[in-house]
């Protein structure tokens, strides 16, 4: 009985530590090297203020992350939050499979009035990388 209570307490403690962030993209860039043009030509496009549900992210430090446009059961990857003391909280999320490599970095400053920002990059299968950056709110 005591052990069950201890387990429940541990589970609740773990659940309480999960943080959820809603992150909106305000700038994005796409860089690609076409396989047929490996001499180094690249493409870039800027989408300022291009925030939409596909570009925005929901990060749950206990579940991973997903695009805001995705079903809320489709969390991917894993996240690690690090308390850096006077430098605030740093959250790093990563997802790796043969088709995608994606990571998200969130920085939350210790002062409550400071904004929370994020940067993100996704290496797609093939030859391009898309990245985005913006601001987050904490649930």
């Amino acid at each position: 009985m005591k052990k069950s209570l201890l387990l429940a307490a541990l589970l609740l403690s773990s659940a309480a530590q999960a943080d959820v962030y809603f992150c909106s993209t305000s700038s994005a860039v796409y860089v690609g090297a076409k396989p047929s043009e490996l001499s180094g030509k690249s493409i870039i496009s800027e989408q300022p203020n291009g925030a939409d549900s596909y570009s925005n992210f929901v990060i749950d430090t206990s579940k991973g992350f997903r695009r805001a446009s995705q079903d809320n059961s489709t969390y991917q990857g894993s996240c690690e939050a690090t308390d850096e003391g006077v430098y605030g909280i740093r959250v790093a999320c990563t997802r790796l499979d043969v088709y995608h490599f994606q990571n998200i970095f969130i920085k939350e400053y210790p002062e409550t009035d400071q904004e929370i920002y994020f940067t993100e990059a996704e290496h797609l299968f093939g030859s391009n990388v898309s990245s985005s950056a913006g601001k987050c709110t904490k649930a």
């Binding site: 860089v31 090297a33 001499s39 970095f105 990388v129």
Partner: protein, 126 residues
């Protein structure tokens, strides 16, 4: 005893033979932050990719971070596909390198921190 030594030597040599090392330099890069496109193109950035030791980050012939992090080889069906990660204290570097069956080697890299910086370029095997 001889057999053990031979086996150990063979295993060591086999491990060493699996290391693949590439020198990668960006030909194009762009940086954004939470508000806007900061700069494009940006200064050249280089990495030495060692599939067994991780990434060495260099900038303007100066080593910013010696071998750190790790690499994961995702495929060898047609050439090589590997992803390497390392942190230098400011940025998290991710380099995806692809060696094609025709010998061409290209890479894409991202650096995440205050900025999100993306690079594309080519590599040579060393």
């Amino acid at each position: 005893m001889k057999k053990t030594l031979l086996l150990a030597t063979a295993l060591a040599c086999s491990g060493a033979a699996q290391a693949e090392i590439f020198s990668c330099t960006s030909t194009y890069g762009a940086a954004i932050d939470r508000d806007e496109l900061v700069k494009a193109p940006i200064a050249t950035q280089s990495w030495i990719v060692d599939t067994t030791r991780g990434l060495r980050v260099t900038q303007e012939n100066r080593v910013v971070k010696d071998y750190a992090g790790d690499c994961e080889v995702l495929g060898r069906n047609v050439g090589l596909l590997a992803v390497c990660n390392a942190e230098d204290g400011i940025f998290t570097h991710t380099v995806k390198i692809q060696k094609r069956s025709n010998g061409e080697i290209n890479f894409l890299a991202s650096m995440l921190g205050v900025y999100s910086i993306s690079h594309a370029g080519t590599c040579t095997e060393i």
